[in-house]
């Protein structure tokens, strides 16, 4: 069965990643860690975009809420640097979800491009808050975190931190996978395809969309905590519009509606941005070009490549 093969492939890929990563060099492992965190953000966006059909340009806001919460708790209240780290994770997820719950009340009334616009505006409000509320957020200087948590393991070790992030990534992937395979997830896909029909069938589509939005916010908050500790620093630049745009592009590049596509897209974008930029000065042309070409010729993203190749008759082996 095709999906069974896919699941095996993903599991195999994850296993390989988990084993190889610590040996890739002290810098590459930093990139991989950041890639996994952005992958969580991208996957949460995929729930909205790929599965429910809601294009959000404001996911960075939830990352920001989680990140700033972590930084403020760590610097002002010295909280979150030992076992309390796990409490911070929980709080960030709740905060992300709560923010989404409030924003969702504004946003879910709209759809399509209007949804894009309103999520953009809401995301910008969070950015404005981060920038202006000097006393709380440090304004444009941001907040420096005092160091990574230490409980049974020292997260200051990059390898240790990688495994923690990897763990969260795998758990997120599993949770979201269960979600999309569940009846709720199926309903979301139904809403993406034909919302009117779903409504006539008796589904409360508003509630479904709202819940999806809140869930995405929760995962965004989780990504925020991990992001703050990865950088050791939180700044309004983390919640700038480009971050939300990047998340959207990651999902589209990787393949929307595939969950794993978001992760692949995250890896791709990060590679282009952070690795290629150190090799050549014209990396922005490559970035722009890759986006444009993939949007034109790869509508299903990277995940759609195998199917495309198969369709164009270059299939090898089993049908």
């Amino acid at each position: 069965m095709a999906s069974h093969n896919k699941e095996l492939a993903v599991a195999g890929g994850l296993l390989a990643l988990g084993l190889i990563a610590p040996f890739t060099g002290s810098f590459i492992i930093l990139l991989i860690t950041r890639g996994l965190i952005l992958a969580i953000l991208a996957m949460s966006l995929d729930i909205l975009l790929g599965y429910t059909g809601l294009p959000s340009l404001g996911q960075a806001a939830y990352l920001g809420m989680g990140a700033y919460l972590t930084a403020i708790l760590a610097t002002r209240f010295h909280f979150g640097l030992d076992w309390s780290f796990w409490v911070v994770i929980l709080l960030a997820v709740l905060l992300g979800a709560a923010t989404a719950a409030i924003f969702g009340l504004f946003a879910i009334r709209a759809s399509g491009v209007y949804f894009l616009m309103i999520t953009l505006a809401l995301g910008q409000c969070i950015w404005g808050l981060a920038y202006r509320w000097n006393s709380m957020t440090g304004g444009d200087n941001g907040i420096n975190l005092p160091g990574r948590p230490a409980f049974a393991i020292l997260l200051s070790s990059d390898v240790a931190y990688f495994y923690v992030v990897f763990g969260f990534f795998v758990v997120s992937l599993l949770m979201l996978y269960v979600l999309v395979k569940s009846p709720f997830g199926r309903s979301l896909e139904g809403i993406r395809e034909r919302e009117v029909r779903m409504r006539t069938l008796g589904y409360n589509t508003w509630l479904h969309k709202y819940l999806a939005f809140v869930i995405a916010g929760g995962f965004g908050g989780l990504a925020g905590v991990l992001w703050a500790h990865a950088n050791g620093h939180v700044s309004p630049e983390d919640v700038v519009l480009t971050t939300s745009v990047d998340a959207l592009l990651m999902v589209v590049l990787g393949g929307s509606g595939t969950l794993v596509g978001g992760a692949i897209g995250a890896g791709l974008v990060l590679f282009l941005r952070e690795y290629l930029s150190t090799l050549v000065p014209w990396w922005q042309y490559v970035l722009g070009g890759v986006y444009i070409l993939s949007i034109l010729y790869l509508p299903d993203g990277v995940m759609g490549l195998p199917a495309r190749i198969a369709r164009s008759g270059i299939a090898v082996g089993k049908p």
Binding site: G25, S26, F27, I28, L30, L31, R34, N134, G139, D140, N141, G142, N144, N231, G232, H233, S235, E237, D238, V240, E274, S277, T278, P281, Q284
Partner: protein, 416 residues
């Protein structure tokens, strides 16, 4: 038989001579340079790179026997990007020193990285006060070769009193650099009898000052401005178009050569303060300006001078360490003791590793200078304050007791 052994003997002697006579291989010092090469501050980044390049070319990359490998990374003036690039430079390229950063926010983000990775971080531009003041203990590998935001404006406050200004309106970019610049000015200006009667904070990146200019109080004697980047270009124009007749004084970045060539006659007569002016009439600067102009087609800004001087200081350290990398801690110790006669004037570092240097009060004039045959705008130096430290005349201990200059400190007690 005999021929073979004498051949071997000859070979042995040759090898011995070769070993003894061979010069020691030049040590390569790797410097990771982090600056915005894209984005709104791209020009500042390019100026910084040019300044460093010019020094390296002048000494033919021979730093007392060592050669410098210069690796440039673009941080787009965004702190999270800067942090990642710093990690890349330190971990992958194994640099000995990271250098750069333009905005104060970058400095605050990079300094902890230098502590964590035990790598020297030289900041030629980032001016955030606290990095060498109240937070200096956290950053033992951090060295500044530029300035603190309030360093030039401390003496400027006294200068303003001397001009007879009693009531001044401050309008400055709404972020830490703006607060610290105004803070320094306000402190000394109010101590010699002046009053800041209003503080206006246009957001960083404002280009339409329409909302702000009409709110300037009409009974002020002068306007103090602190603008950066594109703001410096638009503010004086819009201020003049709105019919302003008051004298305008300001922080150095408002009129620095980084933006002066694009300005018009509306800024003639404006006075500002900084540790450098391209119009500094010394033989050293004249040579610097001419050479820079020949090489890069424009007059150098303080961004270029500061990296050029940093090159000079690094060279001095290498001379003292015999061309070998002395290790991070020792490097910091050595550079703290360096005294140079830089293009901007005599320069040394105080015990918090911030420069003690001349501060120049400069006025914009249109004239010909340094043999260039066209009339242009220059920042003519009208007063020099020698050997100014980041603490001005306040003792270090006393200064550190007060909080860092912020939006509300010093409080606007005379604000109406």
């Amino acid at each position: 038989m005999i021929a073979k052994s004498s051949a071997m003997a000859a070979a042995g002697v040759a090898i011995a001579i070769g070993l003894v006579g061979m010069p020691g291989a030049a040590e390569e010092i790797r410097i990771g340079f982090i600056a915005p090469i894209t984005g709104p501050f791209a020009q500042a980044g390019k100026d910084m790179v040019n300044g460093w390049e010019m020094y390296t070319d002048e000494v033919k990359n021979d730093f007392a026997g060592a050669t410098i490998k210069f690796i440039l990374e673009d941080d787009q003036a965004k702190p999270p990007v800067g942090v990642l690039k710093a990690e890349k430079l330190i971990r992958q390229d194994k640099v000995h020193i990271i250098m750069g950063g333009v905005l104060a926010s970058t400095g605050y983000a990079l300094a902890p990285v230098s502590t964590r990775e035990k790598t020297v971080y030289i900041a030629p531009v980032t001016a955030a006060d606290d990095l060498t003041q109240r937070e200096a203990d956290k950053y033992p590998y951090f060295v500044r070769t530029g300035w603190t935001s309030s360093q030039p404006t401390h003496p400027f406050g006294e200068w303003a009193c001397e001009q007879g200004y009693k009531r001044i309106v401050a309008i400055a970019a709404d972020y830490a650099f703006g607060y610290e610049t105004v803070g320094g000015f306000q402190r000394t200006f109010e101590e010699c009898g002046g009053k800041i009667i209003q503080k206006i904070w246009p957001p960083l990146g404002t280009i339409d000052f329409g909302p702000f200019i009409p709110t300037v109080k009409q009974d002020a004697d002068a306007i103090f401005t602190l603008m950066v980047g594109p703001m410096s270009l638009q503010f004086p124009k819009q201020l003049a178009a709105a019919g302003n007749t008051k004298p305008v004084i300001g922080g150095g970045t408002s009129y620095d050569e980084f933006t002066l060539p694009s300005m018009g006659d509306e800024v003639i007569g404006h006075v500002s303060v900084l540790q450098y002016s391209a119009a500094l009439d010394t033989p050293k600067n004249a040579a610097f300006v001419s050479k820079y102009r020949e090489k890069y087609g424009k007059v150098p800004s303080y961004f270029s001078e500061t990296t050029y001087t940093t090159g000079l200081m690094v060279h001095e350290v290498m001379k003292q360490s015999g061309g070998k990398w002395p290790g991070a801690e020792e490097f910091v110790k050595l550079i703290s003791r360096v005294k140079v006669d830089a293009v901007r004037g005599p320069l040394s570092l105080d015990d918090m590793r911030n420069p003690v240097q001349n501060i120049y009060v400069k006025k914009v004039e249109r004239k010909k200078m340094f043999g260039y045959d066209k009339e242009e705008l220059w920042n003519t130096v009208i007063k020099t304050y020698p050997s100014v430290s980041q603490f001005w005349k306040f003792g270090k201990a006393e200064f550190l007791k007060q909080p860092v200059y912020s939006r509300n400190f010093p409080p606007c007690q005379y604000c109406e």
